[in-house]
C-alpha cells in the first residue's frame, strides 16, 4: 500500500470514528439506550478499595508511570487521567487525598488538574509526586509504600518491567493492586504479579465502567464496534485463506458459514 492510499484510509478511519462516537452518544442519551458494559473483574474492586481508603484514612495510590501527553501516547495518558478522575471522585468523601505518581514531569500539571477537579478538599499539588526515569521511579514508589500505606494501588499507564518492583512492594505490604500497561513488557509483568489486571484496550473503557457518565459508555461501544469489525475481517480473511487450501471450500461457502456464525452470535448476544 503506498503512502497516499494509506493517508486516505487514515483520514477515512478517523472520520468514521468521529461519526461512530456521535452516533453512540445519540443512542446513549435516549431513555433505555444505555448499553450493557462488559464485566471487568479488576474494576469491580475499585469501589471497595475506595470505601476502604475513606474509612481507614489511607490514601489510594494511582500510578501513571511513563505515559505522557505530548507524545504518541497522549490519548492513553488522557484516558488514564479520566479513569483517575472517576476514582478520585469516589474517594472524595474521605479525608485523605489519593497519591498520584508519574515518571514524566509533563504529567504533573495534568495530574494536579485532575486532582483539583475531582478532589474538593484543598489543593492536591503535594499529592502528585514525580521521580525521574523508569527504574528510579519504580523503586522510589516501592520504597515509599511502607510509609504512605496506600489502601490500594491502581497502576494504569506506561510501565515496563520495572512495574515488578512496585507490584512486589505492594504485595509485601499486603496492599492490593490493579495494573495495566500500554507497553507489552509491562503488561506481561502486570499479568504475572498484580492482584487484578486489565488487558489492552480495557484501559480505555475503564473510566466508562467506573463512572456514571454516558460518554465513557459510548466510547466503549465505539471500541466494541471497531473490535468486532476487525475480528470479523480477520476471521473472513482466514476463512478465505482456508478456502484456497481446501478444494471443496469455496469462498461462497466460507461466506455462508461466516454469515451463519454471525447470526448465531447475534442471537446469543441478544439472549444474554
Amino acid at each position: 500500500m503506498d503512502e497516499t492510499t494509506l493517508q486516505v484510509y487514515s483520514v477515512l478511519f478517523v472520520m468514521a470514528t468521529v461519526v461512530l462516537v456521535y452516533t453512540a452518544r445519540f443512542f446513549q442519551k435516549r431513555p433505555g439506550g444505555r448499553r450493557a458494559q462488559r464485566r471487568l473483574d479488576g474494576l469491580e474492586r475499585i469501589a471497595g478499595w475506595t470505601t476502604q481508603s475513606i474509612e481507614s484514612n489511607r490514601p489510594l495510590h494511582l500510578a501513571i508511570g511513563g505515559s505522557a501527553i505530548g507524545a504518541d501516547k497522549t490519548p492513553a495518558a488522557l484516558a488514564e487521567a479520566e479513569l483517575f478522575h472517576q476514582i478520585i471522585k469516589r474517594a472524595d468523601a474521605g479525608d485523605i487525598a489519593p497519591i498520584l505518581s508519574t515518571s514524566t514531569p509533563v504529567m504533573i500539571p495534568l495530574g494536579q488538574g485532575t486532582l483539583r477537579r475531582a478532589w474538593h478538599k484543598g489543593d492536591g499539588a503535594s499529592r502528585v509526586i514525580w521521580y525521574p526515569q523508569n527504574l528510579s521511579y519504580a523503586s522510589a514508589i516501592a520504597a515509599s509504600m511502607a510509609g504512605d500505606k496506600p489502601a490500594a494501588h491502581i497502576m494504569a499507564g506506561g510501565f515496563g518491567v520495572e512495574l515488578a518492583l512496585m507490584l512486589d512492594g505492594a504485595d509485601r505490604q499486603g496492599q492490593p493492586s490493579l495494573a495495566v500497561s500500554d507497553r507489552l513488557d509491562g503488561q506481561a509483568v502486570a499479568y504475572a504479579l498484580a492482584d487484578h489486571v486489565l488487558i489492552g484496550e480495557e484501559l480505555f473503557v475503564a473510566s466508562g465502567a467506573v463512572s456514571e457518565e454516558g460518554s465513557g459508555h459510548s466510547d466503549a461501544a465505539v471500541l466494541d464496534v471497531w473490535r468486532g469489525l476487525i475480528i470479523l475481517g480477520a476471521t473472513l480473511l482466514l476463512l478465505l485463506e482456508f478456502s484456497k487450501q481446501l478444494p471443496l471450500l469455496t469462498w461462497q461457502l466460507a461466506a455462508a458459514g461466516a454469515a451463519v456464525l454471525i447470526v448465531l452470535g447475534a442471537v446469543m448476544y441478544r439472549r444474554r
Binding site: 444505555r34 448499553r35 450493557a36 458494559q37 462488559r38 464485566r39 471487568l40 473483574d41 474494576l43 469491580e44 474492586r45 469501589a47 471497595g48 475506595t50 470505601t51 476502604q52 481508603s53 475513606i54 474509612e55 481507614s56 484514612n57 489511607r58 505522557a68 505530548g70 507524545a71 504518541d72 471522585k89 469516589r90 474517594a91 472524595d92 468523601a93 474521605g94 526515569q133 523508569n134 527504574l135 511502607a146 500505606k149 489502601a151 515496563g160 518491567v161 520495572e162 509485601r172 505490604q173 499486603g174 496492599q175 492490593p176 507489552l184 513488557d185 499479568y191 492482584d195 487484578h196 489486571v197 488487558i199 480495557e202 465502567a209 467506573v210 456514571e212 459508555h217 439472549r271 444474554r272
Partner: protein
Amino acid sequence: MSEEFNWLDYVEQEESAPAPARRSGLRRFLPRLPRLPRLPRLPNARRLLRLPRFPGLPSLRRRRVDAAPGQPSAADLLGAQDERPLDALDDRLLQLRERSAADSQPDADEGQPLYDVDDVLMTPVLLQKPGGVISAGALSKAQEQQVELLRNIVGGATQEEGQGGRRLMPGGALFSLGALPRLLLASVVLLAVSLPFVSSDYAEGDLPPSQFPVDAEGAAVYSLLDNLTATDTVLLAFEYGPTAAGELDPLAELVLRHIVARGAVPLIVSSNPIAVARAQNIIRAINRSVAAGGLRLQHGIDYFILRYLPGGSLGIRELSENFADVARVSAKGALTGLAFDSLDDMAAIALIAESAEDLRNWAEQVVPELENTRLLAFTGMAAAPLAQVYADSRDEILGLVAGYRDAFTYAEMLQTDFGAPLAQTGLPTQPEQPELEPASSNAARDRAADQPADGQAQAERAEATVGALIASLQLSSTAPSPTVTPSPTVTPAPTLTPRPTSTAPPTATELPTATATPETILIVEVTSPEQVRIRRGPTRADDILRLARAGDSFEVLGANADGSWYNIALAPGLAGWIAEFLVEERTSTRAAFEAGQASASARPPAERVVLRSVFRFSLGKTTPRYYQVNSLTTGDLRDYVLLRDRTQEIPRLEAMTLGSLAAALAIALGNIFSALSALRRRRREGRA
C-alpha cells in the same frame, strides 16, 4: 486450619464462589435496589464443563449499566453531601477514624490479622473458645455482615479477596515465614550466578558461535559496519540508561570500536539525557584502553556527541525531519560544524535500544524517512522478542543483534578480522595500497603506490598517504568501493587502510599551493587552551575545516588584508584560515618543522585530517559535505578493536546460563508448590 470458626476462611469461601457482585463497605447498609426480572439464561457452559474461573481474562458476560460498580457507592452518596459533618458519624466510625488518624505508630501486635478490631467491636467471647458450646454457626446474618464490614474498614491485614493466604501488616512482613521463600530463592539464584566467577568447574553451556551464520541478521549488521570507510559517518543512537548498562555497554562499545577502527566517524545522539553521559563514559573507557597504543578519540574530530533530543518520540521525529539542525549543535551546546541534509547522508544508523518500545519509536519516526540508509538494531535479551517483531516489520531495518551472547559473537568476529595487535605485525606496508583503491588511474595514487615499502621517513609516508587519499577523494569515480576481506590470520598486511568512498565530491577546490622558501618558513602555533577552529575562509561565518588544539603548528601561506587571519597549510594541497589571536607566529626551517610535524602526527588527535567540501547541488538533495581522511601511519586503528578487555566475558556468559537455569527451576518449583496449596485450599473450601 482448625475446625473452629475463622473469619478469614469464612469470607473466602463466600468470595470464591462465583457470586453476584459483592456489596462492599457501607453499601451493605443501603436498601437493595429492586432486582430486574431475570432473562432466561442459556445453560452455563462453564458450570457444565467444570472449568475453573479465569480471573485474568475479560469475561464475556454483560451486565446492566446500573448494576454493581456503576451503582452509587456509599462514598458517592456521602460525597454528594459535599462535607460530611463529624458528628454525623456514628460512634464506631468515629472511633475508627481516630484510630486510623493516630496510625503512625504500628502496634506491637500489628502482625496479627484484624489486630485492632477488638477495641472497636466487642468480639463474641464464645468464638475464642475452641470447641465451645456455641460454634461459628451461632453468628447471625447481621453479625456476619458487620464482620465483613469491619474487614473492609480495617483494611490491609486480611481483606484482600481471593488471594488465599493471609496477608501480614508491614511490621511483621520481614520476620514472618513469608519472607523465607524469598530469601531462599534469592540465595539460590545468587549462588548460581556467582559460581562461575569463583571457579571454572562450574562452567555450564556452550559458548556462542565465533561467527554469525551467513544468513543471520547479525552477519548482515556486521558486514555493513565492516564495510565502512574513512569517509563515512554513522549515526549511533544511545537509547539506554544506567539500568541496561550492564548488558548494553559491551554492545555499544563494540559498535563504537568497530566504527572508529574502520576510520568512520560516529555521531552519537539520544533522546535520553542520561544516555548522552553514558556515551561519554564509554568513549572515556575506550580512550583509557587504547592510550597504550598511542590512540585517543577526540570530540569534534573522531566522534561527535550531538545535542539531546527532548520529547521522546517527538524528539526522534525532529531528528529525522530536521537532521541538519540537530547535527549542528553538540551535547555541550557548541557548534559542530557538521552540515548534513538528511539522515540519508549517513552510511548507517545504529540504534542501541533498551526496550522494544525505543525500537518502535525509531521504526515509526525515522525509518519511513530513509531512502538509502539502513537501520541496525542492537537490544538487550529481554527486549529481543518484541524488538524482533519491529525489526522484521520493515526492510529498512537490516537486522537485530541482541544481548550478551550476540555481543560475544560480534567480539569474536572483530577479533578474527582485525587480527593480532600491531605491535606483533609491524607497520603496514605500502605495496598493499593499490589493492584497496578503485581501479582509476591518477597520478597521486601512482605516487603512493610507488613509494618504497621500507626505509622511508615517516613524514614522507604521511604526506604520500594523505595526498593519495585526498586525490582519490577528489577524483575517484562512482565505482563501488572494493570489498575488503581482512585476512583472519596474523599477517603484516594492512587490512585497515581506509577505502575511498563511492560518493566523493565531484570536483575539487583550487587550493593555494605553498610557495615558501625551502630553508626558512613562517609557522604559527596554536596557543589557545581551548580547541580552535580552522575555517575555509577568513571569517567566522566560513565553514569549519578541522579543529586544532594547543601545540599544533602549521605553515603560514599568507594572511588576509588586516592581518587578523592566517592562511595556513593543513595538508599537502589543503589550506585553511585561522584567527590571529589564537596562535603565535614564529619562524622555523622547513626540515625542523616537518620533523616536528612527523612527531606530532604520532600523537593521535593530529593524525586525522578533516576535510569538508562545500559543493552542493542546487537541485534536490545535496551530497555529503563532510569528509574525514585518516592519515594515520604510526598507530593502527586496529588497536581500537584489539586493545579491548575481554577477560570477564566467558564467566559472565556462564553466570547467565546458570542463573537462568536456576530461575527456571525456581519458577517451576515455586509454581508447583503454589498450585498444590491452591488445590488444597479449594478442597478445604469445598468441604466447608
